[in-house]
């Protein structure tokens, strides 16, 4: 770990100001990604701006049609929230399958979404449920948010305040964990929403992505059989010691069918 300055603002404005004051400042939420980068001396922020004391960033609000989750809400708070479980059980399931208890007690939804790790779980929920990302500057639709490997629509100094999830008619998330890291080797969120069927994949590509061919097939017939023959193109998928693109493409189909069967 390199030496760095540490700040703990209590308001978003203060945080944004601090982040703007130096070129290599970085926000830190749960630190479950950033701290590891620091420990391995791969990240070298001059200043760390800890969002932990900004009260307005935390909390869950459900109003019947929308679940709003503050950026600083911990994975376990989402997983164990009876309100979330009632409104969008798939979302509570997803949060409960992230890492282990230690990670879930510290890691935050905002950090996960801002980071856009290709194997992270939340991006599948944001994209699959058609959520909206609220920042200190604007609202960004999920479809415009995830751009590429670790790349999102967020501008420098832009902070996520909350994620707005519309409540779907039914949805399910099925994850296939990479055995060592337990991140998603592939994960599929399927949802029947007011705007039709959405199906988002994480773990398999550079960032979370939708599969229009499956969505179309499911729009006519929301059944596992409807997407039996719909494969994603392996060409663009990730390749590592844990699985070839072909394996990931195959898993996406299997998991998608299982998700459709499990949707409630």
């Amino acid at each position: 770990m390199y030496a760095f300055g540490y700040h703990r603002p209590t308001t978003i404005d203060e945080a944004v100001t601090l982040l703007g004051q130096s070129e290599d400042a970085s926000a830190i939420a749960g630190g479950q990604t950033l701290l590891q980068s620091l420990k391995q001396r791969l990240a070298q922020p001059g200043e760390l701006v800890d969002l932990g004391a900004i009260k307005e960033l935390s909390g869950i609000a459900v109003d019947g049609r929308t679940v709003v989750i503050g950026a600083l809400t911990k994975h376990n708070e989402v997983a164990l929230s009876s309100e979330v479980r009632k409104a969008v059980p798939a979302l509570a399931d997803l949060a409960g399958a992230i890492g282990d208890h230690q990670v879930r007690n510290v890691g935050t939804i905002g950090g996960s979404v801002a980071n856009s790790d290709p194997a992270a779980d939340y991006p599948a929920a944001v994209l699959g449920l058609g959520a909206t990302v609220e920042t200190n500057q604007r609202r960004i639709a999920a479809d415009d948010f995830f751009i590429d490997l670790f790349e999102t629509a967020l501008e420098p100094g832009e902070l996520i305040k909350a994620i707005h999830f519309p409540v779907p008619k039914r949805a399910a998330y099925v994850k296939f964990a990479q055995p060592a890291s337990r991140y998603a080797l592939a994960g599929v969120m399927v949802a029947e929403t007011g705007d039709g069927v959405r199906l988002a994949v994480t773990g398999a590509g550079a960032c979370a992505f939708r599969v229009p061919a499956m969505e179309q097939a499911l729009a006519g017939d929301f059944s596992a059989d409807a997407i039996k023959g719909v494969q994603v193109d392996a060409d663009e998928l990730n390749d590592d010691i844990h699985g070839t693109p072909a394996y990931r493409a195959h898993l996406v189909n299997v998991l998608a069918r299982r998700a459709v069967e499990a949707a409630r």
Binding site: S37, N115, P118, Y183, T244, Y247, L251
Partner: protein, 1038 residues
């Protein structure tokens, strides 16, 4: 009639004697009772004391500069910048160690190993220099300021290519040395050839046998990965000339001898202390460069120096295990009676042979590979070779190469059964060594002490309803479901060992115990072994409690401090109970002999009239005339018989007459999800026989732990390398360490067949379940695959690999019930037996290096001449590269360039040389190369680029680019897999900027816009996740 009654009576009296003994054991906390572990009180309260807990006044910290290359010559090392940093005390390199003769050190295997890179590096992450600074952060900062210039050499990665003609020379120091520590060397990368058995007789058996089978199998490179990594605190007292080293060692006494020999400090002035150890599993047997350099640093600086590795350092540089490329062959009769075995192994030892086996055993006890079977004729041969990988080859929770031996025979017997269409239990029962054959002389030279294999297997088959399972498997298969049943009936060889054939660096492999009984009857005892989680403090106490009739709660066990404990060879290879446990019983018996004399004196009777009561002595036939051990202990200090020395203590150095041979029968049932390849371990039943059971609960704990690690190895662990020698997956993001979430439930059982030669009949057990568990899992997966005609798939059996096999068989698609052709065993004759060169394992440890070649065409909306003008200008071209710039021009065609990458939270800066190889105006072609390293010295990259402008007419052209990029070091290990994706995007950005540059030369709004963008410079690389795996590797949970 009368005799019947008598027999009933005698059974009753044995039963009552047994229950009395049990009651006594429970009361004393003696042998046989389920006593809670005494060490747990401190561990579960966080009060353990590990090496990293040790703080000393004035202590400074060491950190290593490591090589990003697998094979390279070191051209120069510049320490100036590091040394100029405030808080940095020293930077040590091989040059500094050379005058002390410490730049190399001997290995336990008779080879030698670089302590710090001496002129070249032979594996990735090899130790090049150590920086010593006020704290570990400063030390780490300063490692990045040490400038090392490398000249890359071709690496040897695949052991099968190691002895090829013209293979790169890994060990320059061995030039001309054709006599190795274990005989002739036949190639510059050859270490040894070790063989055992009768080759000719074996050939004959194979040529005459009705049935032969042959199978290649790879036991991949894995790592024990103990929770606590390795480290030390070295402290040299200049005034007294004494050296104290606290270190993570399974064998502290040997370390003392090695340190004394290496340093020339008298052994009496070297104090080694191994405090609490957070798991060893073989990883903490060897002496690592970190220990040596920290010690030298302490001597030089006169201050305590601490060095602690991180997880990636531990996984990538300290002793790995296995890496055995094996070919097994069995010859048998038509009805499955095995006649002969042949085993050929190519052993990948890495760059130095630092295996930790007894000196005369370069392949450990691999010759236990005839297993539990009565195989009359056998031959085994192991060839050890060097490769550009980290050294090691320790026994990961097994006695010297016994896991590999057990794996080959247990897999081969299944291969044979499958070939014959015979049941896998039946073939075992048919070939077992029978109980009456013990002591049994094996074809490859061992004398098995005791065993009852048929009883063990039958007990397991009954407990699990084996026949029922087979029926279920058949039914399932008809429904298209995949189920596998694995069996393993292993025999281990542990307790090294008799000094006639076992030594380490010339020291016989005895072990020791010293017991002192205090006047009030409490006890302190010390042993030459060192617990790392095995529970010695509990179990040794139980042996003493039973032998001396004193309660174990008042018995303190100490190990690890070489000043106080008697000399011993340490804890590994399940040797503690067989050797130091025997010494403990023997020392206690010496005390008991003296106690008997004191008791006779106290009771004023003859010694011969006394008998041991379990807690003291009583007069034969007069049970109420007795005295207990506390009374005797008190007397030992104030009322001893005339002529007797006072005191009550004894030491015993135990040289075992033979090894012990624990065994077991395991059964595993797996269900495989054919769509994902995921395996569910439905049932795992482990029956172990380790002779006398000192503490059943500790045994069960050991069995559970060993099975967890067996599960890890069989189902997921592996340390692969790419073709350039970059280690892949040396972090917990990639290396599988199962938690309680993944770990199946274990069922344990036992039989008891005491060792006839051990004082209390005990055998080792710490490793049995690892040795036996791995083939059991593998046999279960292979059993499932056998149904489809597949005879063997290699470990690890993770979901991806299982799926790959199923995918090849087209079994991974719906509909559920695939019509699967019943498997017909093929009966081809086995091919000629393998010389090592013909040993080909299906999964080679290679693949291509972390390099890619990209060729792309990018259309440009500008005339070819305009584009060419910019392409010729190296500075402008560079400026199109996001984050890149030219720092200086060093010659007509050479430049120094810099490139900064910011990837999510990760930043790295590369600096290197760029050379323009050719500018060809005719073809409008530019050729250049670049190579450099990141400023942290942990990674390097090289690239060659050809770019050409092709005129497409009508004021348009095309940029045709072809580039080859190669990565080494940390980036390659963790980020290499994303290289293509990232490079593609970088090129795209480059082309975008290039277009802007060309367009900026024009007129109008578009040109205006382009000029503005050129002015701004290329978009920052913020989003380019060159190394997203790195980020995740960071979870290296230490």
């Amino acid at each position: 009639m009368a005799s019947d009654i008598e027999e009933v009576e005698s059974t009753e009296s044995t039963e009552s004697a047994e229950s009395e003994a049990r009651e006594l054991a429970d009361r004393l906390g003696g042998v046989g009772c389920r006593r809670k572990r005494t060490e747990d009180a401190r561990f579960i309260q966080g009060k353990g004391n590990y090496v990293d807990d040790i703080q000393m006044p004035g202590m400074v910290y060491g950190d290593f500069v490591r090589s990003p290359h697998a094979h390279a010559r070191i051209k120069s090392i510049n320490k100036d910048k590091a040394l100029a940093t405030p808080g940095v005390h020293a930077v040590l390199t091989a040059e500094d160690l050379e005058p002390l003769g410490l730049h190399w050190m001997p290995t336990l295997a008779g080879d030698k190993q670089m302590v710090l890179a001496d002129g070249k590096v032979c594996f990735q992450n090899q130790e090049v220099a150590m920086v010593i600074a006020d704290d570990r952060y400063l030390a780490a900062d300063a490692t990045e300021l040490v400038e090392v210039e490398y000249e890359e050499l071709d690496p040897v990665v695949d052991p099968h290519q190691s002895m090829a003609e013209g293979a790169p020379v890994i060990r320059d120091d061995l030039a001309g040395v054709d006599e190795g520590a274990h005989g002739k060397r036949i190639h510059h990368n050859h270490i040894f050839t070790w063989d055992v058995g009768d080759a000719d007789a074996t050939d004959k058996v194979f040529s005459e046998a009705a049935v032969t089978v042959k199978q290649d199998m790879l036991y991949p490179r894995v790592h024990p990965c103990p929770l606590e990594t390795c480290g030390c605190v070295a402290s040299f007292d200049k005034v007294k000339g004494e050296l104290t080293v606290h270190l993570t060692s399974q064998a502290p006494h040997v370390v003392r001898t090695v340190f004394s020999t290496l340093s020339g400090i008298p052994e009496s002035k070297v104090h080694i202390n191994a405090p609490d150890i957070g798991g060893g599993f073989g990883n903490k047997v060897g002496v690592y460069p970190g220990y040596v350099v920290a010690t030298v640093a302490s001597i030089v600086l006169g201050r305590p120096v601490k060095w602690i590795e991180d997880r990636i350092e531990n996984l990538s540089t300290t002793a790995f295990a296995r890496d055995y490329h094996m070919t097994g062959e069995l010859a048998a009769t038509e009805d499955g009676k095995i006649l002969g075995l042949r085993a050929n192994v190519l052993a990948d030892h890495g760059a130095f042979d630092s295996c930790a086996d007894p000196s005369k055993w370069p392949a450990g006890f691999f010759n236990i590979c005839t297993g539990s079977y009565d195989i009359k004729t056998a031959y085994a041969r192991v060839d050890g070779v060097y490769t550009n990988k980290a050294p090691g080859g320790v026994a990961y929770r097994c006695s010297f190469r016994v896991t590999e031996a057990c794996y080959i025979i247990e897999r081969m017997i299944d291969v044979l059964a499958e070939h014959l269409g015979m049941d896998k239990a039946e073939i075992r029962l048919k070939n077992f060594i029978q109980p009456e054959q013990f002591p049994y002389q094996s074809a490859l030279g061992w004398e098995y002490d005791s065993g009852d294999y048929p009883r063990a297997l039958k007990q397991v088959m009954e407990a699990c309803d084996y026949d029922g399972l087979r029926r279920e498997q058949k039914e399932k298969r008809e429904r298209g479901e995949i189920m596998g049943i694995g069996l393993c009936t292993f025999t281990e060889i542990v307790g090294a060992g008799p000094s006639r054939n076992c030594d380490i660096l010339g020291v016989g492999m005895f072990d020791s115990a010293e017991i002192r009984v205090h006047p009030t009857g409490s006890v302190i005892a010390r042993m030459g072994t060192k617990t790392q989680g095995q529970g010695h403090e509990t179990t040794y106490g139980q042996i003493i409690a039973t032998e001396l009739g004193l309660p174990s709660e008042n018995i303190i066990i100490e190990e690890g401090n070489t000043d106080t404990a008697p000399y011993g060879l340490g804890t590994y290879g399940s040797r503690s109970t067989p050797v130091a446990g025997a010494a403990t019983a023997q020392a206690a018996r010496k005390i008991r002999d003296k106690a008997r004399k004191i008791a006779a004196h106290l009771m004023e009777v003859s010694e011969d009239d006394l008998e041991w009561s379990g807690e003291g002595f009583r007069v034969k036939g007069v049970p109420d005339q007795s005295t207990d051990m506390p009374t005797i202990a008190w007397a030992a200090y104030n009322n001893v018989p005339e002529g007797m020395e006072p005191g009550l203590e004894a030491v015993d150095y135990y040289d075992p007459p033979n090894m012990t041979f624990p065994f077991g029968a395991y059964l595993c049932v797996v269900d495989i999800d054919r769509y994902t390849g995921e395996t569910t371990i439905r049932r795992f039943y482990a029956l172990d026989d380790c002779g006398t059971r000192i503490n059943p609960m500790v045994i069960e704990g050991q069995v559970h732990g060993g099975l967890c690690e067996a599960f890890a190895v069989a189902m997921g662990q592996e340390l692969p390398f790419d073709g350039a020698g970059n280690i892949q997956g040396a972090s917990l993001m990639d290396y599988f360490l199962p938690t309680m979430v993944e770990t199946p439930r274990w069922e344990t059982d036992h039989t008891i067949t005491p060792s006839p030669h051990h004082p209390i009949g005990a055998k080792g057990v710490g490793e049995s379940s690892h040795v036996g568990g791995i083939p059991c899992f593998s046999n279960a997966i292979n059993d499932a695959m056998n149904q489809f005609g597949v005879s063997h798939v290699n470990m690890p059996h993770n979901a991806f690999r299982v799926w790959r096999t199923l995918h090849e068989l087209e079994l991974d698609q719906r509909p559920e019930a695939a019509n699967v052709e019943p498997y017909q065993p093929t009966r081809e004759a086995a091919p000629e037996s393998g010389s090592p060169a013909s040993v080909q394992s299906p999964d080679k440890a290679s693949g291509k290096g972390t390099e890619i070649t990209i060729e792309r065409n990018y259309p440009l909306d500008v005339p070819a001449d305009d584009a060419w003008e910019i392409l010729q200008d190296i500075e402008k071209v560079t400026a199109c590269m996001p984050g890149a710039s030219i720092v200086e021009q060093t010659g007509d065609t050479t430049y120094v360039g810099e490139m900064k990458l910011k990837v999510g939270p990760v930043t790295s800066a590369f600096k290197g040389d760029i050379e323009v190889l050719g500018v060809d105006p005719e073809n409008k072609e530019l050729r250049m190369t670049g190579s450099g390293g990141d400023s942290k010295g942990s990674s390097s990259a090289s690239m060659s680029l050809t770019a050409r402008i092709e005129d497409k007419g009508a004021g348009r052209c095309e940029l045709v680019g072809s580039t080859r990029i190669e990565l080494k070091g940390k980036l390659a290990s963790f980020g290499g897999r994303m290289l293509e994706n990232v490079s593609d995007r970088m090129l795209q950005q480059f082309v975008d900027s290039f277009r802007d540059r060309v367009a900026a030369g024009g007129e109008g709004e578009q040109a205006e816009e382009a000029r503005r963008r050129v002015e701004e410079g290329p978009k920052s690389m913020n989003a380019l996740a060159m190394v997203w795996q790195v980020i995740k590797s960071l979870f290296g949970r230490k």
